[in-house]
């Protein structure tokens, strides 16, 4: 369960996040949708305590991120915008490193690692050094690394960025799988179809603010557009109109 209450963050004079609030529930996939530069990545970075909010509160399973950042990080599996694998280590070694940093003992680490390698269908690349991996292979490794400690909450920043059709399909299935396991999945995207296909709930962000927080159906009903993409454009567009 991820709760965000009235988050603010500015860089110089730019208000990157300007009062964002939403909830992401367990057993659901929540999509954070917004155009480039809307403040999605900054919001997520505050969730996994890489950045401190100027104002507002982040609660992960009821734990305040400000009070106990380490406990919050222990409950999160994070695929940041920056995938950043260690090129001179193999995929397995990359996963092991994070397992140890999460404090798993060797047996548990091995079991989890092999489970993830199987679930993500990456046995063929597991013992290769990650230098020269394709975008899809990199994302798989980064996800395995992020989920090795079996976190209840999963945050994925633009997970399908740069992936081909097959890799995207695989990843969507994997996210559904995470949802079936009862996890709270929060991911960001700027691609409408993807969000529509996956999400139980859509949080639309524009100019650092939440402009809609609905189920896909409700979003369509609210805007009177049968097509989600049109609904999306209408929401963002009208909001821009209001701001101007």
């Amino acid at each position: 369960m991820i709760e965000v209450k009235d988050l603010h963050k500015h860089f110089g004079t730019v208000k990157a996040v300007d009062g964002v609030s939403f909830q992401a529930r367990d057993g659901e996939i929540t999509g954070l949708l917004g155009p480039n530069g809307a403040g999605k990545t900054t919001t997520l970075r505050m969730l996994y305590t890489l950045m401190n909010p100027d104002r507002g509160q982040v609660l992960i399973d009821g734990i305040d991120a400000k009070q106990d950042a380490l406990a919050v990080r222990r409950r999160l599996g994070v695929l940041p915008d920056a995938r950043g694998l260690y090129k001179r280590l193999t995929a397995r070694e990359n996963i092991d490193y994070f397992a140890r940093l999460q404090g798993l003992d060797d047996t548990l680490a091995r079991t989890r690692r092999e489970q993830l390698i199987k679930a993500l269908d990456m046995a063929d690349i597991a013992d290769r050094r990650t230098e020269g991996f394709s975008q899809g292979q990199r994302v798989k490794t980064a996800i395995a690394r992020a989920l090795v400690h079996d976190p209840k909450n999963v945050i994925l920043d633009e997970p399908t960025n740069g992936l081909d059709v097959m890799a995207t399909r695989g990843l969507r299935q994997f996210m559904q799988h995470l949802k079936q396991e009862g996890r709270c999945v929060l991911f960001s995207s700027h691609i409408m179809q993807e969000v529509a296909a996956l999400c139980d709930r859509i949080v639309v962000i524009a100019h650092g603010r939440v402009v809609a927080d609905e189920t896909p159906d409700a979003l369509r009903a609210q805007t009177g557009e049968a097509n989600l993409e049109d609904a999306f454009v209408k929401i963002i567009g009208s909001e821009e109109g209001l701001a101007a």
């Binding site: 890489l50 222990r74 994070v78 280590l89 980064a142």
Partner: protein, 391 residues
Amino acid sequence: MKTTLTVFLKEVKENLRDRRTITSALLYGPLIGPVIFVLIMNTVLTRELNKADQPIKVPVIGAEYAPNMIAALKQQGLLPQPAIADPEEAVRNQGAEVVLRIPADFGTSWRKGEASQVELIYDSSQRDAGSSVERVRHMLDAYIRRQGAMRLVARGLAPTLMAPVTLDERDQSTPQSRAGQMFAILPYFFVLTVFMGGMYLAIDLTAGERERQSLEPLFANPVPRWKVLLGKLAAICAFSLTSLLIGVTGFGICGRLIPAEKLGMVINLGPSFAGQVLLIMLPLVILLASLQTLVAAFAKSYREAQTYLSMLMLVPALPSILLSVMPVKVAEWMYAVPLLGQQVGITQLLRGGQLSAQEIATCVISGLIVALLATLLTARVYSTERLAISA
């Protein structure tokens, strides 16, 4: 502790797989110093020694005006060469190191018992000329003194009239202390070795990680950043310490190849020297690792970090340069200043002096305190928000 160890082991493993780091930290860094050193010393020493043993060739203009003097100089090892047309030009463009010119009226004034003039033409700004000029001047002096003495004797006077005071020089330098002077640059080599040994790691572990965007996922793990930093510092120290070990061993072996004893010098770079060097260099290993990481943390990219660190590399050279241009008397407080303390201490060892336990302790403890401060500062920078953000 476990986190730090995990980070340390991973960084060491990863960097052992990087050829550039390995060659720079464990090959070029520590070994280029001793090798260059031996090459230079051998060339210089061999040339000086050869010069001293061999007859010296000097073009002589007007040799026919002073046949007796030339014969006497020949006995002392001077080989007169045929006259050359423009001696001034020749010494300037290194055609000759020194030229002797005897004027046509040499014989006339000689016979009158007046002072005859001879000219020694050389260019003192030519590095090579110095010892040749010295030798020729020495030969001439000897001849002049002898002839003066003979004139006095011929007139029934004691030659000692010419020398109311005799000068006896008593040089208190030892073979080791003369060597110490010559090898004053050595301490800088050791500092440089430590610096080079850790440099690529320091860049890679902070600026490099950020550039490759792996710092953000790393910090998403439930571990305090200072523990991660300690692991990284430990890895840097491990590399620079290994580098220093190789360097000290290298100098120990190379020290035997320098024919210093031919110049009446002794250099002792053996195990006891190596041990003490390692001990007083230890705080510097930690201090430099922290400083390098600190600098790398401010750089936006790998390249930028490389530029900054190359500039930082000049800082340890300052004490070496200062001490070599102005001979400062070694004072106790110097041991308490990191870099300066190591410089003074190692120089002392090279001169064959002993370092007291107190001097070593001052050097090590003050170094460790400064290293600790640098580490705390680096930890502060490490915990800032912008450190992990790569884009």
